[in-house]
Symmetry: C2
Subunit: 500 residues, 2 copies
C-alpha cells in the first residue's frame, strides 16, 4: 500500500454530529481516487497516537482542498487532534465480529466469545448505526436465552473499567423505569449513605423517558465525574450520584442505549445486561431492583415482572451479584414533577421534610432504602423501612445529600422554566386513569430532558375527586416552540388523564 | 407555531452523503434555539413544492450564518432547490408506523395495513438508517410467515408505479444470486425477445455481490431510463435491460437493499418480496426463477431451495403471477468474468457465437430461455432449450441485443481495467473447490461493482487438471490501492481456489 499518499492535512470544519464519526474529503483527493473511497464508505483515520473509524462524506465545493481532510467534532475529539495535523486514511479492515451479528439475525445462539468480540468492536467504534441497530434488534424480542444474557453481561463488564472498593458490602439500587417522576434513587443514596453503607451510584441519562436520574441530578450538581473523582467522593461521603457514561463503566451500554432510544425500545436481554453490567463494573455486591408494574408502565403485567425478576436474579448470580427484585405499583406517575428540574424540586422537598413533599415518592424511597438496608444484613428483616424513616426524619439524609453534592463540585437550587401553561379539567369527576406513556411523551415534547426545566407539574393522582376547571397539571417549557408542540399533542390526545 | 421564524436561506455546501438526507444549521440559528433542535434530530424541511425529512448536523464555525441552512446533495436534489431559496424547518411529526416495527421486533405478526404504512413511510424517506436496519432485522431469520411475506410484497407493489403492457403474456426471469459471473439475464432477454415474447426486464444493482445485472449492462448501454423511455424501448424491441431504481417500481426495495448491503444479509422474506414486487410492478405475468444451490452459493442446500421454491410460488400466486422455480447447480462461478466489464465481455462472446465463449454460461442461458418459452405456452414441453439454441445460433439474439442497447441510447464496447495481476497455481493437481463467496469478496475488494472494469477473469473450473505455475485467474483493478487491497486478502486466504 502506498501509505505516504494517504496523508492529508487536517482542517477544522466545526460540524457537530453528536457521537457520529464523519470524515470529509474532497472528491479530487488522491486517497479517495487511489483507494476507491466513495461516500459513506467506512474508513480508518489515524494520527500518531489514535485511530478511529468514520463514514466518508465527499466534498465537491471549496470547503476543502484536495489535500485536506475534515472531521466531525466527535471524530476530532476522539483523535485529540490539533489544527494542521497530518492524518492517515486507510481501508477499514473487515469487521470479523459482524459474522456473529449475522448469525444472531439468523436465530443462532451466541457464546461468550462471540458477544465479547461484538462488544469489543462496538466500544472501538467500528460499528455503524446500521450495524448497531441490527445487533439490538436481533437480540430483542426474547431472542436471547439466559446463558446468552449472562454472556453479554460479562462481555459488557469486561469491555470497560471496573471499580474496586475497600468494602465487603457495596450496595446499589435500580428501577426498571417507565414511571414518570419516580425519582427515588437520590433519596435512597442519601438515606443509605447517611446510615453508613457504601453506595457508589452511577446512573444513566433518559433512554425513552423525560428524565433519567443523571439528568435530574445534573440540575443540582455535577454528574460528569472521572473515575478518580468518583473514588474521592465515595471515600469521603460513602455515596455519589454520577452519570455512568464518562466513568467508562460498561461503555458499550452507552453506545447501545442511544440506538435503543432512536428505536424507542428497551428489550429484556439488553435491559438486564445494561443494568447488571453497570452494577458489577461499579463494584457493587448487593443490589435491589425495583420493577413497577402497570398497564402503561414499562412492565405491564405481574407475569412479565416475575419472569424478569427471575432472569435478573439468575444473571446477577452468574456475574457475582446478590440481587433482590421487588415488584411495586406502576399504575401512575410518582411525585409531582416530571422532567429534570421539576423532579429535583420534589426530591429537595422530601429531604427537607417539607409539609407539601409528595408522600408517594417519600414512601417508595423509604421502602427501597429499607430493602437495601435489610439486603446488606446490617438491619434485621422487617426493620429496614423504619430505620430509613428515622434517618430521613432526623435530617441526616438531607445533610448527606448536600455533602455529596458539594463533594461532586456544586449544589445549585433548581429554577423553573420561563414558559408555562396550566391544563384544567373540562368536567368534574374522579381521576380514573393517568397514562404513564402519554404523560411522559407530553413531557418529552415540551423539551425534557434536553431542556432541563421543561416538563410537567402534576396536581392530581388516581382516585382524587376534582371539580370542573380544577388544575390538572402545568406544562413547562424553555421555548415557545416546544410549549406549542406539547400543546398540539395534548389537544390531539384526550386520554392522557381520564376523568369519569 | 411561529412559522415565520423558521425560514432560513439556503446555501450550497456541496457535501455528498450518497442517499442520506442531512441538514446543516448554525448553533445560533433561531429555529434551532426556539424549536429545541439538537444534532441528529430528524426534522422536516420544506420549500414551496417539496418536503423531506433530514438529520440535523449543527455547525459551530463560519461555514454558515445563523440565518442560513445547508443540505447534503441528496437532500438538495430531492427538494429540487435553487441557491438563496428560503426553506422552512419544522419538527418531524411522530412516525406512527414505527409502532408496527416495534411490534415486529417483539415477534408480533403484522397485517397488510401495517406493512403498507411502514412501506409508505419508508418511500417517503421518513425512516432513518437505524429504523430501516431494525425493520430489516426484525423481518429476517424466518420471522415473517407466508401471509406476512405476501402482505409485504403487495405493500411494496402498491408503493410505486406499475407498468401495464398491451400483451396477454409478459415474461420475466430472476436468479437468486450468489454465483459470481452467472450473468444469464441479458442473454435470456435477447433470445426470448428475438423469438417474439415481451420481456421488460428491470434489474437491481449488486446487493452483496461484485455485480448485479444492472451494473453489468451499464457497461454496454444506458440502464437508467424513465418509465416512458422503458415503454418506448419495449414497444419497439419487445425487451429491455434497465435498472429498476429510477423506474420507481417498488421503490421501497431500493431503500431496503442499501441497508441489506451494509449488513451483508439477504433474508428470505425480504428477498421474496423484493423479487416478486419488482416483477409484478413491471407488469409481468409469467416468471421463471433460478435458484443455484451450492455449499458457497447464496442457497446452500436443496432443502432450503425447495422451501424457498414453495414460498416463491405461493406468494407469486397471491400477487397474481405464474411462477416456475428451477433449482440449478451452484457449486462454482459461471462463465469467466466476475465484475461488470468482465461479465459484459463474456455475454458478447456468447451472443456472437465466438469459439472461446464460456460454454457453461451459454448452456445455462439456453436452459432458462427454454423454460421461459415453455412457461409462456408458446413452445411445447421439452422443446424450449432447442428453440432457444436455434435463435442464438442464427445470430438473431445478437441482433436483438444490439437493437435493444441502441434503443436504450448507446452500445459501448467494454474496456479492461488498467491495473492487473496474474495469480498462478503454486502446485500441480486438480481444481477441487472454488469458494464462490471468497472469490466474490476478492472481486469486490478489487473495486467491483463501483469500479466497473475491476474484478476477476477466471481461467479454471472444477475438475480441471492444472500444472504448477499455470494461470488460475487475473485480478483487474482501476486503482493500485484497490489492487493491493485485493492482493492482501488473497494472500491471507489460501482456500479461494483449492487444488489437490
Amino acid at each position: 500500500m502506498e501509505q505516504h499518499s494517504n496523508n492529508l492535512k487536517y482542517k477544522h470544519l466545526g460540524i457537530y454530529t453528536q457521537n457520529e464519526n464523519v470524515v470529509y474529503m474532497h472528491k479530487d483527493c488522491h486517497a479517495c481516487i487511489s483507494e476507491g473511497f466513495e461516500a459513506l464508505t467506512r474508513i480508518r483515520i489515524s494520527n500518531a497516537s489514535h485511530s478511529i473509524v468514520a463514514s466518508l462524506n465527499v466534498i465537491n465545493s471549496d470547503m476543502l482542498l484536495p489535500n485536506e481532510i475534515g472531521l466531525s467534532d466527535a471524530a476530532a475529539n476522539k483523535l485529540n487532534i490539533s489544527q494542521n495535523e497530518t492524518l492517515n486514511v486507510s481501508h477499514l479492515e473487515p469487521i470479523e465480529s459482524l459474522s456473529h451479528v449475522r448469525a444472531k439475525i439468523y436465530n443462532q445462539k451466541l457464546d461468550y466469545n462471540a458477544y465479547s468480540q461484538i462488544i469489543t468492536d462496538i466500544v472501538e467504534g467500528d460499528y455503524s448505526n446500521i450495524h448497531l441497530s441490527a445487533f439490538i434488534t436481533a437480540c430483542a424480542g426474547e431472542r436471547m436465552d439466559i446463558d446468552e444474557i449472562s454472556a453479554l453481561t460479562k462481555a459488557m463488564i469486561a469491555s470497560g473499567k471496573q471499580l474496586n472498593w475497600d468494602q465487603e458490602i457495596v450496595v446499589d439500587k435500580h428501577c426498571i423505569g417507565g414511571l414518570p417522576g419516580n425519582r427515588t434513587t437520590p433519596l435512597v443514596v442519601a438515606i443509605v449513605a447517611a446510615y453508613g453503607l457504601t453506595m457508589p451510584k452511577t446512573s444513566s441519562r433518559a433512554i425513552t423517558s423525560p428524565a433519567g436520574t443523571a439528568d435530574t441530578m445534573e440540575v443540582l450538581t455535577n454528574v460528569t465525574l472521572s473515575l478518580e473523582e468518583i473514588k474521592t467522593v465515595v471515600e469521603k461521603e460513602g455515596g455519589c450520584f454520577v452519570w455512568g457514561g464518562t466513568a467508562q463503566l460498561s461503555p458499550a451500554d452507552d453506545v447501545l442505549i442511544k440506538i435503543e432510544k432512536a428505536l424507542d425500545i428497551d428489550s429484556e436481554g439488553q435491559l438486564i445486561a445494561s443494568v447488571l453490567s453497570k452494577k458489577a463494573a461499579a463494584g457493587s455486591t448487593h443490589v435491589v431492583i425495583d420493577i413497577p408494574v402497570g398497564e402503561t408502565a414499562k412492565v405491564r403485567s405481574t407475569g412479565i415482572a416475575q419472569k424478569l425478576k427471575s432472569h435478573l436474579e439468575t444473571v446477577g448470580n452468574a456475574v457475582g451479584l446478590i440481587v433482590k427484585v421487588v415488584i411495586t405499583d406502576g399504575t401512575q406517575p410518582v411525585g409531582r414533577g416530571i422532567g429534570p428540574t421539576l423532579e429535583a424540586i420534589d426530591i429537595l422537598k422530601v429531604l427537607k421534610n417539607e409539609g407539601d413533599a409528595p408522600n408517594d415518592l417519600k414512601e417508595r424511597a423509604l421502602f427501597l432504602a429499607g430493602e437495601l438496608l435489610e439486603l446488606s444484613g446490617k438491619i434485621g428483616k422487617g426493620k429496614g423501612t423504619e430505620t430509613a424513616k428515622e434517618v430521613l426524619k432526623s435530617g441526616k439524609a438531607y445533610e448527606k445529600f448536600l455533602a455529596i453534592c458539594k463533594a461532586q463540585g456544586r449544589f445549585t437550587l433548581p429554577v423553573l422554566a420561563p414558559h408555562k401553561v396550566e391544563i384544567k379539567a373540562d368536567k368534574s369527576g374522579v381521576i380514573k386513569r393517568i397514562d404513564n406513556r402519554k404523560i411522559a411523551k407530553l413531557a418529552k415534547l415540551s423539551g425534557a430532558p434536553q431542556s432541563k426545566s421543561a416538563g410537567i407539574l402534576l396536581n392530581v393522582h388516581l382516585g382524587e375527586k376534582i371539580e370542573n376547571n380544577q388544575l390538572l397539571y402545568t406544562l413547562y417549557a424553555e421555548s415557545k416552540g416546544e410549549l406549542n408542540y406539547a400543546l398540539d399533542y395534548k389537544n390531539n390526545h384526550n386520554d392522557i388523564i381520564t376523568i369519569i
